[in-house]
């Protein structure tokens, strides 16, 4: 155990911190669930990319800078500490990116990853269907092979920011006779292809934050398939592993929220202390975020020594999603009668950012595999309890 950062790691932290101090927009960007905000975020991503800070862990040839996991954690800490914008292309960068690294051909990597790193291509996810949510193996959308194309028919849903996106990655049934997790293929689909219809769904915040997507005889070249035909489930599960795990939600994000919560409590101490449980919840928030960070460093260290992140990734997802919810609930309780005010309200505190975060935190225990599914995974695969 050696808990000092190396001179190289410290220099990297200093470089990132300095760049962010010079470049993070002083006024917050508009919500990325609006056209205006989406474009602002795309522009921000471009600046990150130009500084080679978009995907620091990716190889330089693919638009990254070849950082290891510790450097990535450092980057993330500095990123969130600086109050920089949320990452608008995370479905592509954090979910598809690692999958392409593992299953993509060299040509696919060259074709997709640099443009993903620079956010020239924005990606949406196409997994869920109206009747395939937690039970993802119930997918019915088809991709029937015709020569060197697949012909897609069916419907995907809950696709985040799909109305703004350029591409979709998802699972389709390429063997019509198959069932459950057999016979699926992992495909990338340009969203401007003929036969694609995208219909926005308004989310809790009233914005068109996600969408349903209809496919009517959409032709996709075979070269857009990631991994082997019929192996889509295997490829997607690897992505799900990354998603549940560390990459999607690094600790810096929650440590930053915990610090903001402490500041909020300090600013409202007198009124907050009338509810004796708030003080405890604020301290719990710091401890929870700190525990998540410590767990990340412990895991990353084990990975560096050759361990593989397995089903314990499911514990991560439960911890960060419930911590995020708890922190935002506590903030709402501190803000009291003003907590309900939206950003446009003249007397809204803190630009209603806690309210926005509170709404988004509601989704945490649901997306990326509900926490009930995660608990099943922990019980069956980590603890070895019998299947239901």
């Amino acid at each position: 155990m050696e808990l000092a950062f190396t001179p190289r790691q410290r220099a990297f932290r200093a470089e990132v911190r300095a760049w962010l101090a010079d470049n993070v927009p002083r006024t917050p960007l508009a919500s990325y669930d609006t056209h205006e905000g989406f474009d602002q975020h795309r522009e921000w991503e471009r600046r990150l990319f130009d500084a080679r800070l978009s995907m620091v862990m990716w190889p330089e040839a693919l638009g990254g800078r070849g950082c290891d996991l510790i450097e990535w954690l450092i980057f993330e800490e500095e990123y969130y500490a600086s109050g920089a914008p949320l990452r608008v292309n995370q479905n592509g960068q954090l979910l598809l990116g690692p999958t392409l690294m593992e299953f993509g051909t060299e040509a696919q990597k060259q074709r997709f990853l640099p443009r993903m790193a620079s956010s020239e291509d924005m990606w949406a996810q196409g997994w869920s269907e109206p009747n395939a949510g937690s039970d993802m193996a119930a997918i019915t959308s088809k991709a029937i092979r015709e020569g060197d194309h697949y012909v897609l028919n069916g419907q995907k849903t809950w696709s985040t920011r799909a109305i703004y996106a350029d591409w979709l990655f998802g699972l389709f049934r390429s063997d019509p006779a198959s069932s459950r997790h057999h016979g699926l293929s992992f495909l990338t689909v340009p969203l401007d292809a003929p036969g694609v219809t995208i219909r926005p769904i308004r989310a809790l915040n009233g914005k068109e934050a996600f969408a349903e997507i209809f496919f009517d005889d959409v032709r996709v070249p075979v070269e857009n398939r990631i991994g082997d035909e019929g192996q889509g489930w295997h490829v997607a599960m690897a992505t799900a592993g990354f998603e549940r795990g560390l990459l999607l939600r690094s600790p810096g994000r929650f440590q930053h929220t915990a610090r903001r919560l402490v500041a909020l409590y300090q600013a409202h101490r007198e009124s907050a202390d009338r509810d004796p449980t708030i003080r405890d919840a604020v301290c719990e928030s710091w401890m929870g975020a700190e525990a998540y960070a410590l767990s990340a460093y412990h895991t990353v260290g084990r990975v560096a020594k050759g361990a593989r992140i397995g089903d314990e990734a499911s514990t991560n997802k439960i911890v960060w999603s419930e911590l995020d919810l708890k922190m935002h609930e506590t903030a709402m309780r501190i803000l009291g009668a003003r907590a309900e005010l939206v950003a446009e309200a003249p007397e809204a505190e803190d630009g209603a950012s806690w309210l926005e975060g509170f709404l988004f935190a509601q989704a945490g225990p649901i997306y990326a595999g509900t926490n009930e599914i995660q608990r099943n995974i922990i019980a069956e695969r980590m603890l070895g309890l019998p299947k239901s």
Partner: protein
Amino acid sequence: MDFTFSDDQLAFREAVSRFLMTEAAPEMLREIWETDVGRSPDLRHKIAEQGLTALSVPESCGGLGMDDVAWSLMTQELGYYAIPDSLADTAYVATGLISALPESVAARDEWLSRIADGNIRIAVGHPVNPLVADAHPADVLLLAHGDEVHAVPRSLADVIANPSIDHSRRLGRVVWEPNSATRVASGEVGRAMWAATLERGVLSVSGQLLGLAQRMLDLSVDYTAQRKQFGRPIGSFQAVKHHLADVATRIEFAKPVLYRAAHAVAHGEADVSVRVSHAKLACGEAAWLAARHGIQVHGAMGYTWEVDLQMFMKRAWALDASWGDRGFHKARVAGLVLGDAAALGPGRTFGE
């Protein structure tokens, strides 16, 4: 930056676990706990033969000079096998205190050598604990009088037993008179020694609580995988699974907190008290949740004397408030968290 254990440290833990699995089986512990003294010289002898009492003792006194970080693995094993307080208190907490004594204390090296050999029991009476654990069978008691540290031979102290619901615990009110012959440190030195002993004592029970949590989880998994109702193992029901998944999650996220605290103690870091209190809270809560859900999934069997769960559950309930109750530790955490927001946030986890 490498927040992991070495292969040697992990292998050593594994060896200790295998040893205790054979030598400290629950049925044997039950027999020992039924005796008046509640301790077994025979088991202690075997443990010493394995070198466990010599771990913390400096190499110059015949020990292995192991630090707090390695001990954070060891205390989990002691908890897992419900090894009574005397071992960790002597071989870890008291050894740390005695090692810090000035060379001028004549008996220092002799005590350390005897700890390494396993033929001395030392009890620690830190002021944070109202009663002293394992004072009765101790040879020497380390007691506080203000800032002073006194090493009191058992013959000069009266011990009034205060039985605990946890039969592994032997608590006593120690009645004694401080005098200059027993005083081994005082003033600033004494105060610093008691302060360091507090952190080490908390760390010791934190690790044990985490080990207890893991044991209760393992017992619960075994039980629910075998016990059948409605024609199938109750462990196949989601309500039961989710109880145990929550315990597993709590344990997973308490471990690194414990390890971070151990490093802070080993290196005398500035925020040691917050790190240690965080560990105690995380480990204590994991243990209590493991007990709560453990007894629930055991059903009525969990409420019996017969099923082993009770041994570990009661010890978890007891240790949670030893070396400072939750209020004590929450207050220490709040002191930092609510006091100085500048010291918080991303990038501060390792004191940068």
